[in-house]
């Protein structure tokens, strides 16, 4: 099959006055019978095409950064924006005077920048990871939120008729705090049920297995929560919260607005639905699970558990920030590999600048 294309005339040639196909390839191909899906137009080797491709690339790049989370975004910006350009400039510092790259300044700069930025996140993250294993997931919940959860848990314990209902009762209280009088009892119950289902997905790996005794115990010890079940329940809850918010539309008292249907107020503080759900799960799977499994006076157990969790939270955050502070102060010990400051290598008249510091107060 022979594919024919109408001849395209350059603007300005005599034939262009009468020719229909004058101008650039893009407009020509868009107008021809083959339509804009023709090979020439699709290859887009014109200004508009390249611009759109670059725009799509930037769009994809930014979406990848945003979906990666705050730490990922920080790493990309810190590496590309700070560490690499500064290290390059340090290596090139006084190159003309020295006759070669300034390896001392470059290596010091690289070590300094690599240790500074990431350490402000990695150290607290490490502390939180240890706390999760040793203390429990409630250590990831902020202190004021923990205290508010305690109040709701107390009401939940009093309202629950049996231990198995404590979690559901707790979440009814949470939903009441989130939405106030915007929801009726049925809607409140439905949302609380979705929260409880997610709690169960985390804590009960195999809810269909009703066998009692040793077998059940072994299952609970060795089988981790099925991630698919957890993800399913989480997405279902998130969708339900967003639908509820869009249905309500606007309620400033509860931080609900169509400007962002995934945001809501928990205990008066505006937060995203995702963070709120994670906080709730971190609390209920740790503290409420202990309550449900223990016998005796559950209110006094709650008191003891909270004293421990709140105390641990304070210690963890203080230790994490204290460690970051100490590390930041001691970073110079790691990068100061040279006796003299290499930034002025090649700039002083004498070949070595060892007397610079010893010259005393007169030195600029």
């Amino acid at each position: 099959m022979i594919i024919k294309y109408p001849k395209v005339y350059k603007t300005g040639v005599p034939e262009a006055k009468e020719a229909k196909n004058t101008g650039n390839f893009k407009t020509h191909c868009a107008n021809d019978k083959m339509g804009s899906k023709s090979g020439f137009a699709a290859s887009g080797k014109t200004e508009g095409g390249i611009f759109k491709k670059v725009l799509k690339l930037i769009d994809r790049f930014q979406k990848t950064i945003e979906s990666g989370g705050f730490f990922y975004e920080f790493l990309v910006v810190d590496f590309a924006g700070m560490i690499i350009p500064r290290t390059v400039q340090a290596y090139l510092r006084n190159r003309d005077e020295l006759g070669h790259l300034n390896y001392k300044a470059g290596s010091e700069e690289a070590i300094r920048e690599l240790l500074t930025g990431p350490s402000m996140f990695i150290i607290p993250m490490a502390f939180l990871a240890i706390a999760r294993k040793k203390i429990g997931t409630a250590s990831h919940v902020k202190l004021d939120t923990l205290r508010n959860f305690k109040n709701v848990a107390e009401s939940g314990i009093k309202a629950a008729k049996e231990p198995n209902n404590i979690v559901n009762s707790f979440y009814k209280g949470i939903v009441k705090n989130l939405y106030g009088n915007n929801l009726d009892t049925k809607q409140n119950g439905m949302l609380a049920g979705a929260f409880t289902k997610l709690h169960d997905a985390y804590t009960n790996p195999d809810p269909l297995k009703k066998a009692d005794g040793l077998l059940n115990k072994l299952i609970r010890i060795f089988k981790k929560p099925d991630p698919q079940n957890v993800e399913k329940a989480k997405n279902h809850l998130k969708d339900l919260l967003i639908k509820t918010n869009t249905k309500i539309g606007e309620d400033k008292t509860h931080g609900i607005s169509l400007a962002d249907s995934s945001k809501i107020n928990l205990f008066g503080k505006n937060t995203s639905a995702e963070n709120m759900v994670q906080d709730c799960m971190n609390y209920s799977t740790d503290v409420l699970n202990s309550l449900v499994k223990s016998d005796g006076n559950r209110l006094s157990v709650l008191e003891k558990v909270h004293e421990y969790k709140e105390g641990a939270r304070k210690i963890i955050t203080t230790a994490a920030v204290g460690t970051v502070a100490a590390f930041l102060y001691y970073i110079p010990h790691f990068y100061k590999q040279n006796k003299e400051f290499p930034g002025i290598d090649g700039l002083t008249l004498k070949s070595d600048n060892s007397n610079v510091k010893s010259a005393g107060k007169g030195v600029v």
């Binding site: 150290i123 198995n164 995934s262 105390g311 210690i315 955050t317 100061k336 700039l347 007397n355 600029v364």
Partner: protein
Amino acid sequence: MTNISHNSALLKPYADSVSKRIIARTGKIIPQFISDFTEINAKGSMNRFTFMTLAALLLLGGRYYQARNDDEKREVFTRDFSAIATAVYAVPILKKFAGKLISNGGIPIVYDQKVFEDNSASEKSENTDLFARFKHSIDLEKGTQLASYDQLKQWHSVDDASHFKNIKEGFTGFCKNIAETLNGNLSKGFAVLDPVNAHNTLLTLAAKFGIKANKENLDNNTILEIIKKAETASGKAKKEAEPHLNKLMKLFEVKKEPKKESVLNQLLEKASHRKSLTEFSSIISTAFLLGGFLPWFNIWYTRRLYKNKNNENVAYNPDSAKNHVVASKNNIIINNSANIKPQNKAATGNNVSMAEKFNNFQKIVQ
């Protein structure tokens, strides 16, 4: 319902161990203001104030105190302090204003945090007080915030036109959000979605409901009035308006295909591109300022200082004829050669004469 076994034999007393009690008591000793200062979120981030305090006092203070010479001390200010202040405050503020500027084009990509807060008391004073408005606009936690891609999707699109029923006030509420909450331009939005037919459809609906409208006066209020009347109509009017209204609603759909990326509507795509460009340009400007300009300026300034210092060292004291003593701040150089012409100490001269002096000085020293 949580499916914990009803078997009471599985219930145990709470294990209140010694270590737990020690941790609880130790935690109580830590004062509240310290735990507020050291609060971190679940991802390990500190709040801005804590970050800035640690950076200023310990990071920069540590570098300053442990600096090897005065040059290094000075560089802590010219390079590091300015970098941290820029990163923590200047860049987010630039991003805010850039986003707001782009949003003024009619397609919103930013929102004001106050839409989530009950600010009826403070709102009045902000409307009249310039300083309060300025303070609000530069407040990084409040004020204008750049939207996320998920938010843009919520504002400018739906998965299916039938989902408008789930929004309060339906399609009217959806458009009201763009026009009133986000300060967008509905006329521009519709023009982007369908440059040929959208305005004509709106005008057709306006004519059906007796609303005086033409292409020039299709502002937000008029469009909202048209859509509200079309949506709340009943009987025959509803039947006549429905096809036109459905046409407008379908413009906002995101076409999903199995195993392929969804095809965004033009408005969402444009908003997405504008947000991406704003953020990308802030990354570039951050890289330019923090990675490019500040270190360059720092190196340039140090070199300039040393150039001036070296020029001073090569100048001669004109008072001494035989022994040309050059007192520099670093070195004492004695020139015994009578052939060298005494030069004006203060003269920095042109480059050629400086080079000659330097060469002569080197010969003497060697």
